[in-house]
């Protein structure tokens, strides 16, 4: 077996670039959807809001400034190849340093507080990032990252449905969550849905679903069909861009699933704003 050595500084640099890039340059999946929505909408207000969002992406990418002032809390899903040894530092600290450097050097907003209830003191460097690491075969590190704004994060929910609720129960909970969110999470939204696993696994799947490009479908055609049905259903609610009315309340619905217990059917809905910033890198 070959051991691959990676310098911690290389990881820091890659993570830094990843977070700066995702904050300045929106993915082509989102931009395509916004352009299409602008064509589809008929009201002046909805068209005007979408035109502002498209113009905003142009300014952000040209001037290399953040798309949104809420540059989020950094979340990373890591697949770490087990043949890798990190030199000159720890993997965890190398990643945190990359996030720290991105937020300081990249003029991103520092939005993380040290303690959730009592102190709430800004850490001034947007760390710690939330990191989920999975050990996989091989000698590569794959990182799927997002910077999650909290206007939409606050509108998310988990429910422990039971098997008798069926697909109708799943759909109802998703629609209820989107309705409750209404105009608050910066529609048009991306809806990440996690179904199955345990309480926390469903939530992690939902988060991961928000990071999947919206021009891709679930590989199981039954869930792919459900994604389309939910997108249509949500767009019939009429909230529209900025909640001021229109046909585009969501631009994407992504579902991720996992096997679950005989007694359960957990469902998590992670709502993401239209500035759905995500990026994947391989080291």
């Amino acid at each position: 077996m070959n051991i691959r050595k990676i310098n911690a500084a290389e990881i820091t640099e890659a993570v830094k670039k990843m977070f700066m890039d995702m904050n300045y340059y929106i993915g082509s999946d989102i931009l395509t959807a916004l352009n299409k929505a602008e064509q589809t909408e008929t009201s002046d207000t909805a068209k005007s809001v979408l035109a502002q969002l498209i113009e905003n992406h142009k300014i952000a990418s040209e001037e290399e400034v953040p798309i949104c002032q809420d540059t989020g809390m950094a979340v990373l899903f890591v697949e770490y190849g087990q043949n890798i040894v990190i030199e000159n530092g720890s993997f965890e600290e190398a990643v945190q340093e990359g996030v720290r450097r991105a937020y300081i050097d990249g003029y991103l907003r520092k939005s993380v507080v040290s303690d959730p209830v009592f102190d709430r003191i800004n850490t001034k460097d947007n760390t710690p990032a939330v990191i989920y690491t999975e050990i996989v075969p091989g000698d590569q590190i794959k990182i799927l990252g997002g910077c999650k704004g909290f206007g939409s994060e606050n509108m998310s929910a988990v429910k422990m449905l039971t098997p008798s609720a069926g697909i109708e129960g799943v759909k109802q909970f998703i629609y209820d969550t989107v309705k409750y969110a209404g105009p608050n999470p910066c529609p048009p939204i991306v809806v990440g849905i996690g179904i199955g696993g345990t309480f926390e696994k469903a939530a992690m799947l939902a988060k991961k679903a928000t990071l999947r490009p919206i021009d891709t479908d679930n590989s199981d055609e039954r869930y792919a069909a459900l994604e389309k049905k939910l997108l249509d259903g949500i767009n019939q609610m009429g909230y529209g861009p900025a909640g001021l009315g229109g046909k585009t309340t969501a631009i994407g619905v992504n579902i991720e699933t996992f096997p679950t217990h005989i007694a359960g059917m957990p469902v998590a809905v992670n709502i993401c704003c239209h500035a759905a910033r995500h990026k994947e890198i391989t080291i």
Binding site: T45, V65, N184, H274
Partner: protein, 175 residues
């Protein structure tokens, strides 16, 4: 049709603003979000002096990103307004005339707006880089320790907004 309005807002201008109107705002406004509102609210509860005068002012719910060198302002779009709902009626009673944010407000806030003759504007959430073009100057007024959550004074020219809830309590949001 975009209405051009200047700050501070007069009662006449406020009465002439209707839900759904598109406006371009010029003048100076305060900023404040969760942490600053909590502090202002607690001072009002205790009957103590505020570090900034809010009478006649408009407050923008925003925590700006830092400005790059050579830029007057960093990206500065609105944050969700409902988180300020607990505090807003006290500020409106104290003479606040307008709020800028995004999303829905509670019925308590709407009632207080009608009672006090105030208006709630919406800026487009997520259009932060675009909005920053209309911000010409940023000064820190209070609570510098809060970082992005401090109270700033923004000088703006043609800041794009929509009247979301007018002083009559009518809303442009889809319910």
């Amino acid at each position: 049709m975009k209405k051009k309005i200047t700050l501070p807002l007069t009662d006449e201008v406020i009465k002439d603003l209707h839900a759904g109107d598109t406006v371009l705002i010029t003048g100076t406004m305060l900023t404040g979000r969760d942490a600053a509102h909590k502090r202002l609210y607690e001072l009002l509860q205790k009957g103590e002096e505020l570090p900034v005068e809010i009478q006649g002012e408009v407050i923008y719910y925003v925590g700006p990103a830092p400005a790059k060198p050579g830029h007057a302002a960093g990206p500065a779009g609105p944050t969700s307004s409902y988180r300020m709902d607990k505090y807003a009626p006290s500020l409106l009673d104290r003479g606040l005339k307008g709020m800028i944010g995004k999303g829905a407000r509670s019925s308590e806030v709407v009632d207080s707006m009608v009672k006090n003759g105030a208006v709630y504007f919406g800026a487009v959430g997520g259009a932060a880089a675009l909005i920053s073009k209309s911000i010409k100057k940023i000064e820190t007024l209070a609570y510098e320790d809060l970082g992005t959550e401090a109270i700033y004074r923004f000088t703006v020219e043609d800041f794009p907004a929509i009247v979301v809830i007018d002083s009559y309590g009518k809303s442009a949001l889809v319910q």
